[in-house]
């Protein structure tokens, strides 16, 4: 398989936007680079930028490896990507508003109704509920990869509680601290205003009539894998970081318990899944949620970001229909590619998938985080046979896609500098008519040679992402 290399072209020449960096890298002594890498490691440890890994020793925290070779995106490429992301997220929000109201897209037969209405992520409690500005996915983390000759594909639309933005910000801070001279030489678009932008968006979707909204970040707690990010964002926005037990509902209004008595809460940036949000409405065993919060939400007395029920739009079984959504709601042709997807619930697709398992990627429809997937070309016979049984037992639980030749980028690994595969997660913020994002996003890199799985829980690392200004 041939891979698109972000730094070098097919003939081994350095791409124009990497030339300055490449020359700098060649001219910088190896000892200095090594020293800087050690410095970065130490700093990340001291700052405690860690994430907890499920399934390992309880409460254990691990560093996400940080690579000092940046991923550079030229201005024109970013502009095209940004415009495609805006279009896509706009359509996804319109889709959510539609299916929780008049369901025009189902009536028009663009998506089979049972695919939506029988989906576990579809929330009947949201039917007919109006949300401020008609926005459901205020924060979307859209996973984009480059494949083939360098064209972008959307891999997943993460519309529930996408994470990783704190690494984007910390990576930039680290790069500026380690290599200030590079930033003097390159015009790198800044990203540090992300928390400001987020706060602005959250305030903009406050319930009607609230002039000066109280915004909070709701976290499952200090043992959650993304706790660092929750506390980081709350701190950067200057708002309270709350847990479910800090909140209570009275007269369909949400309050937090403070040292001065109850204080009303208007907007909740929640980093808890729908299922755990309200034990009275969803999972009764949830100790993380707030009893009665759904009623307060339905009454319009509090805004949740993201809204309840967004999972139906980023579900892998709905993903194949996103291009149709864009055509249906916006009357435009999609600017970003979807990956061709086989829906195993269709007998023909299933037959094809079973016959081609060694060359496909198979994913659980509701899976996330790189768990529960099969990368055919990188799997053993046993693993493939195991998935064959899973597919036969529950075909509608899976989709399959061709294995994309993900682009790669030179990366520091133990053996020196070697190409490793990567993706990009831009964070797309919506309120009312505006869709905004900071340039770039989080670049994740698979550190294992040949691996196409970039998730941090699967040993992935991150790189600073530079969008160059003209």
């Amino acid at each position: 398989m041939n891979f698109y290399n972000e730094m070098y072209d097919a003939n081994g020449g350095v791409r124009a936007h990497y030339q300055g960096y490449e020359a700098w890298l060649q001219a910088t002594p190896a000892e200095r680079i090594e020293r800087k890498r050690a410095e970065a490691d130490l700093a990340f440890h001291r700052v405690g930028i860690t994430f907890a890994v499920y399934g390992e020793e309880a409460g254990k925290e691990r560093l996400i490896p940080f690579d000092i070779i940046p991923r550079i995106i030229p201005s024109a490429e970013w502009k095209a990507l940004q415009s495609g992301l805006r279009q896509r997220v706009r359509a996804l929000n319109m889709f959510l508003d539609d299916i929780y109201h008049d369901q025009e897209i189902l009536k028009a037969g663009k998506i089979p109704a049972e695919q939506v209405l029988n989906n576990a992520q579809y929330r009947p409690v949201m039917q007919g509920v109006d949300v401020p500005g008609g926005i459901y996915a205020h924060i979307a983390g859209v996973d984009v990869v480059r494949a083939g000759a360098g064209e972008f594909y959307v891999l997943e639309d993460n519309l529930r509680v996408p994470s990783g933005v704190s690494y984007m910000l910390e990576d930039r801070k680290m790069m500026m601290r380690l290599f200030p001279e590079l930033f003097a030489r390159y015009k790198v678009a800044p990203v540090q205003h992300y928390p400001d932008l987020l706060l602005e968006k959250l305030r903009a979707v406050a319930p009607q009539g609230v002039a000066n909204p109280t915004v909070v970040v709701l976290t499952p707690g200090a043992y959650n894998s993304a706790y660092f990010e929750h506390s980081f964002l709350a701190q950067q926005m200057g708002v309270e970081l709350v847990e479910g037990r800090d909140l209570f509902v009275k007269n369909e209004t949400v309050y937090m318990r403070t040292t001065q008595g109850p204080q009303r809460v208007d907007v909740i940036y929640r980093r808890i899944d729908d299922d755990f949000l309200d034990p009275l409405a969803f999972r009764p065993d949830s100790a993380l949620g707030v009893p009665g919060i759904l009623k307060a939400y339905q009454a319009g007395n509090v805004t949740l970001a993201n809204a309840i029920g967004t999972g139906v739009a980023d579900d892998k079984s709905i993903y194949p229909y996103v291009p149709d959504m864009i055509r249906f709601y916006l009357g435009e042709e999609p600017k970003l590619n979807n990956v061709p997807t086989y829906m195993c619930r269709k007998p023909d697709d299933l037959a094809y998938v079973l016959a081609h398992l060694p060359e496909l990627v198979v994913k659980e429809v509701h899976g996330a985080g790189g768990y529960g997937m099969l990368v055919g070309p990188a799997s053993t016979k046993e693993q493939i046979e195991h998935f064959r049984q899973l597919l036969l037992a529950k075909p509608d639980g899976y989709i399959a896609q061709p294995t994309l030749a993900l682009s790669n980028c030179p990366t520091f690994v133990e053996a020196g500098i070697a190409p490793r595969h990567l993706d990009l997660r831009p964070f797309v913020l919506s309120s009312g008519k505006c869709v905004n994002m900071v340039p770039g996003g989080l670049t994740r890199v698979a550190l294992t040679e040949g691996s196409l799985v970039v998730n941090s829980s699967q040993g992935g690392g991150t790189k600073d992402t530079w969008v160059l200004e003209d």
Partner: protein
């Protein structure tokens, strides 16, 4: 401020202060044990530390003999002993972790790296390198934490709960150090004992950084009465009970809410006793009895603060 956040800040500060004072107490005991004395007297000092924290059973379950090295191992590094310095630093860091967004970056980094470093120090290495160095290190880390707090944190409610935790803990701990040492060092006036007294009381004063202060204030020989006066009543001595209560009532006033009146009254009462008290009266009452009563009231004050501010209030639904 969230009640839970205030709770974490309050306990973060208490655990850090407790670690520091424990280091001070162990340091002075260790130093005193180096002054020639009978084995019985030495063991009495180590026993007193175990008894002070009501750890007799937990200690007996692990060690057969009470001696300096065992007690130090138990009180410095034992992760199973929730009162050890190791555990205090861990709890300080865990409380900080739960509210790291409320802390400044410098504060969090200080608390986090203190714990990371403490965790990496096995007792044998500490003991062989001279345990005194370790106590110095703990004191420095506590000072650093206090310094970054003072130097970087907005002086709002968060700061006030941190100060409240620090000062309440310090009042309790100073009272404990004084109680245990005063008990061991019964005052006496026989001439041949003066030299021992000097070293013993000198070590106690040094443990609360009060040796030079004593010299400056009294310009006279060290006597137990004056040591007690300095550590209890002197309002400008940062580790005295009076100083601590000054800070407690000041910060309580700043965070007062609609149902904290009784707690404020209790704090004021205790403060008045120090503000208007005389050392002669306290000693006449019996220092041990007086200190025991004081520690009980500090304990109740902590409960009052917890009930009024930290434990989620009933919302009267």
């Amino acid at each position: 401020m969230l009640s839970r956040t205030a709770d974490h800040l309050f306990w973060m500060a208490r655990y850090m202060e407790r670690a520091e004072n424990l280091a001070r107490l162990l340091d002075v005991t260790w130093q005193m044990s180096l002054v020639p004395q009978s084995e019985e007297a030495a063991n009495q000092s180590w026993n007193a530390i175990i008894a002070l924290n009501s750890l007799e059973d937990a200690y007996a379950a692990k060690y057969s003999a009470v001696n300096g090295e065992n007690v130090l191992r138990f009180m410095v590094s034992d992760p199973d002993n929730f009162s050890s310095i190791h555990s205090c630093l861990r709890m300080a860091r865990e409380n900080a972790h739960a509210v790291r967004g409320t802390l400044t970056t410098e504060m969090w980094e200080t608390l986090n790296s203190t714990w990371l470093e403490a965790r990496s120090k096995p007792f044998e290495a500490l003991f062989n390198a001279g345990i005194g160095d370790y106590f110095e290190w703990v004191k420095m880390r506590s000072s650093l934490t206090r310094g970054t707090t003072l130097g970087t944190l907005l002086q709002d409610e968060a700061y006030q709960f941190i100060r409240l935790g620090t000062l309440l803990e310090r009042a309790d701990n100073t009272a404990r150090i004084l109680d245990v040492k005063y008990h061991v060092l019964r005052p006496h006036g026989e001439e041949e004992e003066v030299a021992t007294d000097f070293y013993q009381w000198g070590a106690l004063l040094r443990s609360v950084s009060a040796f030079e202060v004593y010299r400056k204030v009294y310009r006279d020989v060290i006597t137990p009465e004056r040591v007690a006066e300095l550590l209890i009543l002197r309002s400008d001595m940062p580790r005295s009970l009076h100083f601590c209560l000054n800070g407690v009532i000041k910060n309580l006033d700043l965070i007062a809410n609609s149902h904290s009146g009784e707690t404020q009254r209790q704090a004021g009462l205790l403060h008045a006793q120090l503000h208007y008290g005389r050392i002669e009266d306290i000693l006449a009452q019996g220092l041990h009895e007086w200190l025991t009563d004081f520690m009980d009231r500090i304990y109740l004050l902590g409960n009052g603060i917890s009930k009024d501010f930290l434990v989620p209030m009933s919302e009267a639904a």
